[in-house]
């Protein structure tokens, strides 16, 4: 794993900045501006502690304490008619605030409203599973563990969902390198052939701009094929690329280009 580097000052390195560019902010409205949301928030606040609440893009965002997540979602499902959990996952804010944001996107078909319930947990904290309320949380919580390493308590079948079971690391963390750490780079070689095969197979070629036209072990240019591994310093000979051999193929009639008719008029 590489060290945490805060990504806040990425703009400082930009070679061009627009003098008149203003970072877009999604406007926030007060909850009292929507009567349905105001009543929902009142019902939640009566039983649980609400840290913050506002309306953004016609959706209410409610910040709660992480230990209340099951209670709040149960209240919303059974009393407030938010019967669907359309999405849930986490956001990595470890470098900025040292914690993850976990969000639950709720939908009420009867009220035609959406509420996003958010809570923040520290790195090594676990969260209670909401799988008993919403079956859709089953795979979402497994994915959250797979991608961020957030443990979920009382989940019926808690294991990785996307990456292999013996994978090390959690790929959606901001610290996880895009090309993978050493474990990821050698995963398939180690697993299939064993660690001693690393020297024979060699490291991955990660430079996607790497083109060596004289490399005859990986690619041959069409029309300039040479035998595998042949040495060509420059100017490989042109090869007539026809699929049939010059002396013909046993029992197969040769296609003669000269004696065939090429139709150029498409509207004939």
């Amino acid at each position: 794993m590489r060290r945490y580097v805060p990504k806040d000052d990425v703009q400082k390195k930009a070679y061009y900045t627009d003098r008149y560019w203003v970072a877009p902010q999604v406007p926030k409205a007060k909850v009292s501006s929507d009567s349905v949301f105001a009543e929902d928030l009142k019902a939640i606040e009566a039983k649980f502690k609400v840290l913050d609440a506002y309306i953004q893009v016609e959706q209410m965002v409610v910040y709660i304490q992480p230990e209340d997540n099951f209670g709040v979602l149960e209240l919303m499902k059974k009393e407030l008619e938010y019967t669907q959990l359309s999405e849930m996952s986490a956001v990595d804010f470890l470098s900025q605030r040292g914690e993850f944001d976990i969000f639950y996107q709720m939908l009420s078909m009867s009220k035609r409203k959406r509420i996003r319930v958010k809570c923040a947990i520290k790195k090594d904290e676990a969260i209670e599973s909401v799988e008993k309320l919403f079956r859709s949380a089953d795979w979402s919580e497994r994915e959250m563990y797979d991608m961020f390493g957030i443990k979920v308590n009382n989940h019926p079948f808690f294991k990785r969902i996307l990456m292999p079971d013996d994978w090390e690391g959690h790929p959606l963390l901001k610290t996880y390198p895009l090309h993978g750490d050493e474990f990821a780079a050698w995963y398939e070689v180690d697993k299939i052939f064993g660690k001693e095969a690393r020297d024979i197979i060699g490291p991955e070629i990660r430079d996607d701009a790497a083109v060596d036209r004289y490399d005859t072990k990986r690619f041959a240019r069409l029309g300039h094929e040479v035998p595998f591994g042949a040495e060509i310093p420059e100017g490989e000979p042109a090869v007539k690329t026809e699929y049939q051999e010059d002396d013909g193929v046993f029992l197969i009639e040769r296609f003669e280009k000269e004696s065939s008719t090429v139709i150029t008029d498409r509207d004939r």
């Binding site: 895009l178 990821a184 995963y187 095969a197 990660r206 690619f219």
Partner: protein, 169 residues
């Protein structure tokens, strides 16, 4: 029908053709290349199109089989993820020799656009590849041409030889 009738009065009166064992065996092998059904991603759609009526692989003797025991050629059509790598190796090992591998499309050749932690950077890290087809995704004509080139390669080989096991290790 009449023009296909054998004229017994011609060429000494006998319908005999002389050839070598190599040519007959390779003719059989190259014209009945049964391919393993192995569509991993969008290249698999092009592979299916190649097998369907418009491009019609059947006329080359290429019929897709669902079992590696019955397959001669493995067409790796699509992105090979690291999670899947062990399965492709196992299926390749289950195929009977002689066997050939076609790597179809950028992803199978080099990892392609998926320059990430989860993708094998070239199927030739896992199994030996005979033919690389460029493209993202290659058109059915490319796969057709690739199969024809593979046929040519098979015909140029000796049919009966000490089978050198084609393995990376």
């Amino acid at each position: 029908m009449a023009q296909h009738q054998v004229n017994y009065t011609q060429d000494g009166g006998l319908p005999v053709a002389l050839t070598t064992i190599d040519k007959v065996v390779n003719w059989g092998r190259s014209n009945s290349l049964w391919a393993l059904t192995y569509g991993l991603a969008c290249c698999g759609i092009e592979m299916m199109a190649s097998g369907a009526s418009r491009y019609d692989f059947d006329r080359f003797g290429t019929i897709f089989r669902a079992s590696p025991r019955q397959a001669d050629v493995l067409i790796i059509a699509g992105t090979l993820t690291k999670k899947h790598a062990e399965f492709i190796k196992r299926l390749y090992d289950q195929m009977t020799e002689p066997r050939w591998v076609i790597s179809m499309g950028s992803c199978a050749n080099t990892g392609g656009m998926f320059n990430t932690y989860a993708t094998v950077q070239g199927a030739d890290r896992i199994v030996p590849v005979d033919l690389y087809l460029p493209g993202c995704a290659p058109r059915p004509e490319t796969l057709q041409y690739g199969v024809m080139l593979l046929q040519k390669k098979i015909r140029s080989e000796k049919a009966i030889k000490a089978q050198k096991p084609k393995r990376l290790l």
